[in-house]
């Protein structure tokens, strides 16, 4: 009797060991699969962020490129940036640039997405053509917008009969770059919102129509609420891209005249690479770190909002 029970117990032990071994093997395999991705993220995302943070605490100036040495200065760079008289203008410009670009890009993208839900002849071709701003290299778009916005020879002033120095007047330069950036961002919004609209079942619209809802009511009560997840993604991605938009502004105005179209992104570049022996990669890194923190905050807000929605 005892012998039989003893053998049974041995079997259990060996089966448990076998199960543990199998679990460990599964775990190793799991690591094997995610290791490339983790490695990629560590090298291309985490390392640059850490290095930027490190640079912002050092004094990496022109000489440092050649000697490789940079002193540790603690928060001196942050102090310098926060007491810089340009900071107010630059931050205000960044906020205006980002908010206005997002609002108008989104509105135009949404309007066009709704427009294209109706299939008319050549609608697919037109929809593809509208992608062009997204496909063109930004240098090309920025240069073309620069030509269009010239005061004396540009087509915008000629069309509207105005005499505005879109690039050379400090009161107008920010609006000039915002205009160009809105044009740049419309296709992105269109694509995402169109996809979102397509996912809404037609039956809901039919039901609403049967209940007597007009076109506007159908949009407001059916499309808009069901688009909310897509709206959140679009706005968040748009925010992250826009807040660090660099080449469009740099090619058009280089942040000038003065600081009238300078944003945090262009300021970071200017501090890092312009100014002869005064250029300081550390100061640029400091501004870049501030920019990163702002984007991170919004990213975390988004994740929190997503979690809440999933929980709801």
């Amino acid at each position: 009797m005892n012998a039989v029970r003893a053998v049974g117990w041995q079997d259990d032990v060996s089966r448990a060991a076998a199960r543990r071994k199998a679990r460990r093997r599964t775990k190793l395999m799991a690591f094997g699969f995610i290791a490339p991705v983790v490695f990629y993220i560590l090298v291309f995302f985490v390392y640059p962020i850490l290095r930027t943070g490190q640079l912002s605490l050092q004094d990496y100036n022109f000489q440092s490129f050649f000697t490789g040495e940079a002193d540790f200065v603690g928060f001196a760079n942050y102090q310098a940036i926060f007491t810089d008289p340009s900071l107010g203008t630059v931050v205000l410009n960044t906020v205006l640039f980002t908010v206005l670009s997002l609002v108008f890009q989104f509105a135009a993208g949404l309007g066009l997405a709704v427009f294209f839900t109706r299939k008319f002849p050549l609608s697919t071709i037109f929809r593809s053509l509208i992608l062009i701003p997204w496909l063109l290299p930004v240098i090309v778009s920025a240069t073309t917008w620069r030509w269009m916005l010239f005061k004396d020879t540009g087509i915008i002033n000629a069309l509207f009969g105005t005499d505005i120095g879109w690039l050379s007047d400090p009161n107008w330069s920010l609006w000039g770059v915002i205009l160009a950036n809105i044009w740049l961002g419309i296709p992105f919004n269109l694509v995402l919102l169109y996809g979102g609209l397509q996912a809404i079942p037609q039956t809901l619209y039919e039901a609403a129509a049967l209940d007597g809802a007009g076109a506007w009511r159908r949009f407001w009560s059916v499309s808009w609420p069901l688009l909310r997840p897509v709206t959140a993604v679009t706005l968040l991605l748009g925010l992250v891209y826009t807040i660090k938009a660099f080449d469009i502004i740099w090619v058009m105005t280089e942040g000038g005249p003065g600081n009238s179209s300078q944003t945090l992104a262009t300021w970071s570049y200017k501090l890092s690479f312009e100014g002869g022996m005064d250029q300081s990669l550390s100061m640029g890194a400091t501004v870049a770190s501030i920019l990163f923190v702002v984007a991170l905050v919004f990213g975390l807000l988004y994740i929190r909002a997503q979690r809440k929605e999933v929980a709801a």
Binding site: P36, F39, F65, T67, D152, P257, G276, D278
Partner: protein
């Protein structure tokens, strides 16, 4: 099946690690040696327009490749200064680099360049004012591959129609510009670049020096006078307010289309203007009270980088000597409309090409931008550029802009 997955996963990770490590390892300075003799060097330049295979620059390099028996691996960089600085940080510098002359002293003081005693580059016969950009702390670095400068271009047809003669001082320049300004036709009497970057400061210097100001004090009354000369003309519409954003190419476009009756521009525009078919004349930029204003020297230097390998540095020096010899420079100078750094060759250029007469004179009287301030020039120039740009755009008054700039430069 499970074992296959395990093997596949590990293999993937291992291969990725190997690839990453391989990519991480520093490239060092490529280039080959053969029995201790250097047979290939790397060269970086910023001449993006000379990349089609048969341009004067490429032919210059090819000619010297055959005569020195060194193969050149050329990289064209659009933002050469930025790329060079970053390459210094990552240890991937070239053997020879072509830098704009005002940048030479800034790099020389960091020790990244090899001086001419070490590399064997011979510039004893080159004009001293041109080579001044390469002299730092008593040592000379690199060799000039040609110089250019600024002068005043004017539209002969418009001048004849208005009965105006080329100006010889600031008062005449102002009245000529006013006579040729026609708001109804969107025509402006004068055009120049007032950008805050190197383009604007380059254009401003003839007026700055022409008023008697010096770079050691950019807030002096004479400097303010020079800046006010510019801002007054913008304020009364003789010069378009657009100049705050225009670069020299764009100014040239407007001159070629007749929109600007006069323009400040350089030798490198000659061929373009000839092609555009406009009737233009060239006079030196006048100084405030008459005579020629000293104009700044443009043009690049070929420099040998201190790679730590003496054989490579000497080979680079040999190649640079070949590139900057009179015979080899000839075709390059013609294609680029640069003036020779050798005074005798410059005279020959003036004799054989009538268009170059005013330019040879301008270059021989021109000043190197870094001769006074050396490596500090670029940071002072950046401040000066900001001051002139914000004054022209009417953000600050000229005297305040300049005194702020001087204070910032002194920090």
């Amino acid at each position: 099946m499970t074992r296959f997955k395990a093997i596949a996963g590990t293999a993937l990770t291992a291969s990725l690690a190997v690839v990453a490590l391989g990519a991480c390892s520093s490239d060092g300075s490529p280039g080959g040696s053969d029995n201790g003799e250097v047979t290939s060097l790397t060269l970086w330049d910023g001449f993006t327009q000379y990349n089609t295979g048969s341009t004067p620059w490429e032919e210059l390099i090819n000619a010297c490749e055959s005569s020195t028996e060194i193969t050149i691996e050329r990289t064209v960089n659009t933002a050469l200064s930025d790329q060079f600085t970053q390459a210094a940080a990552s240890g991937t510098l070239p053997d020879i680099v072509i830098h704009d002359n005002p940048n030479v002293s800034q790099y020389a003081v960091t020790g990244v360049l090899a001086d001419n005693e070490t590399s064997g580059v011979d510039t004893t016969e080159m004009a001293p004012n041109i080579m001044a950009s390469g002299v730092v702390d008593g040592k000379t670095y690199g060799a000039s591959i040609g110089a250019n400068s600024l002068a005043l271009y004017y539209n002969e047809d418009l001048f004849d129609a208005a009965g105006v003669t080329p100006p010889t001082n600031w008062a005449e320049l102002k009245s000529a510009a006013e006579a040729l300004t026609d708001p109804a036709e969107r025509q402006f009497g004068l055009g120049f670049s007032a950008r805050p970057d190197q383009e604007g400061t380059f254009q401003f210097l003839p007026f700055f020096w022409g008023a008697g100001a010096e770079l050691s004090d950019i807030a002096s009354p004479k400097a303010v006078e020079a800046l006010e000369f510019w801002t007054d003309m913008v304020a009364d519409g003789t010069v378009s307010s657009e100049v705050a954003t225009l670069n020299q190419q764009e100014v040239r476009d407007r001159f070629a289309s007749g929109q600007f009756a006069m323009m400040v521009n350089g030798t490198w525009q000659l061929n373009n203007l000839d092609e555009a078919g406009i009737n233009y004349g060239v006079v030196p930029i006048p100084a405030k009270d008459g005579g020629e204003a000293a104009s700044p020297l443009g043009g690049e230097f070929a420099l040998a980088v201190d790679s730590g390998d003496d054989a490579r540095i000497t080979a680079a020096g040999k190649f640079i000597n070949c590139m900057t010899s009179r015979e080899n420079l000839g075709d390059w100078l013609e294609g680029q409309t640069y003036i020779s750094p050798y005074a005798d060759q410059a005279e020959e250029q003036a004799a054989s090409d009538e268009r170059l007469v005013p330019w040879v004179a301008a270059v021989s009287a021109a000043r190197a931008r870094t001769e006074d301030l050396g490596p500090d020039y670029q940071s002072v120039a950046a401040r000066l550029g900001e001051a002139l740009s914000s004054s022209v755009a009417d953000i600050t008054e000229p005297d305040k802009a300049l005194s702020d700039a001087q204070a910032a430069a002194e920090e």
